[in-house]
Symmetry: C2
Subunit: 189 residues, 2 copies
Amino acid sequence: MKTLSRKDEIILVAAHLFNEKGYKAVSMRDIAKAMDIKAASLYNHISGKQEILSEIILKVAEEFTVGMEKMVSESISAIKKVEKVIELHIDITVNHSEALAALNNDWMHLESENLKAFVQMREDYEENFRSIIKEGIDNGEIKSYHPEVILFSILSTLRTLYLWNQKRGKLDVNILKKDMVSVLIKGIK
Amino acid sequence: MKTLSRKDEIILVAAHLFNEKGYKAVSMRDIAKAMDIKAASLYNHISGKQEILSEIILKVAEEFTVGMEKMVSESISAIKKVEKVIELHIDITVNHSEALAALNNDWMHLESENLKAFVQMREDYEENFRSIIKEGIDNGEIKSYHPEVILFSILSTLRTLYLWNQKRGKLDVNILKKDMVSVLIKGIK
DNA sequence: TAACAAAACTAACGCTTGTTAGTTTAACTT
DNA sequence: AAGTTAAACTAACAAGCGTTAGTTTTGTTA
């Protein structure tokens, strides 16, 4: 068990608060109080509120990017790739559930370079996923529905997974992966 | 074309701003500026910021509740009910896309009675949907996956629909309904 | 045209916000 | 024991917040 730096502690506590009320509704004094120190003391470890937000969001965003890029170059079927995307999301969600709340709801409060970097990563990610689906449709692996409908129906589910994971008692990861892959790919009927 | 009351105009403008930056990041002065008046003038029409939020959220929440309750009492198959839930969400999304952003992201900033009312409605809604799915599994219409996985994978997609509808060029409503029902029920494989 | 109501205005309030400056305490290293 | 550094503190700032009070303008009705 690695010990956390003070900075990492702040980021962890902040992520927890952002998860509950959103970035704009959490003050530096709120974060400080949760750590039992005064707000000004936070600045010994971080440069400002914005740095906290970008550390939380960009760190997980990079995990998605790396995971996706590792996958696209593999020579496996399109359906298999979709399965791997699902599993990637589940793994990241289990480990960074609270950071995902910020990523989903507070990304627009990133500033300048941070914002640009995030938006770029998200666009690339979606484009990669879109290509996988189109490839699957072209070679007959995937039914020929509007690709955008398939893309967003799967991605919506995966992106909101963190909410459900926090609610009702954290379903077992492996059962989740198995049923999720089935439901999203083979349907419910 | 019915003319809007000044109050309704404020609510519409506010919903638009909340959609972009979230409730806490939008000030009364922001809303006023978007209407070309001063912040204090808003109070001739509404009692405060909280009333704006609750009008936006609770109005659509009631549409969902009414739609769902009309459905549960119908004597149609479980799958048919799921289809109707999907269509209900699509119809509401098309008409109130911006209000849905507030409903999804800012409901936690509702206060006291407003918050209680919302949470109750949402719980009832989910419970109704859960019952439909369980009924479908029990009588063999729906595959026997973990009901919670089915519930949240469909509901996640429907709840985030407003985001995708705002992005890429608003897919035609009827194509959307048709493909969406197919993807969510019959799968993509 | 006088009266009334609707809807805007200016000015200010008390409070919270993110952040800075300067200082003190606590904990290691020599 | 002295020196150094990490990490806390107090105090304050300028700006922004939601909201109120009181006043003026605008538009409709009698």
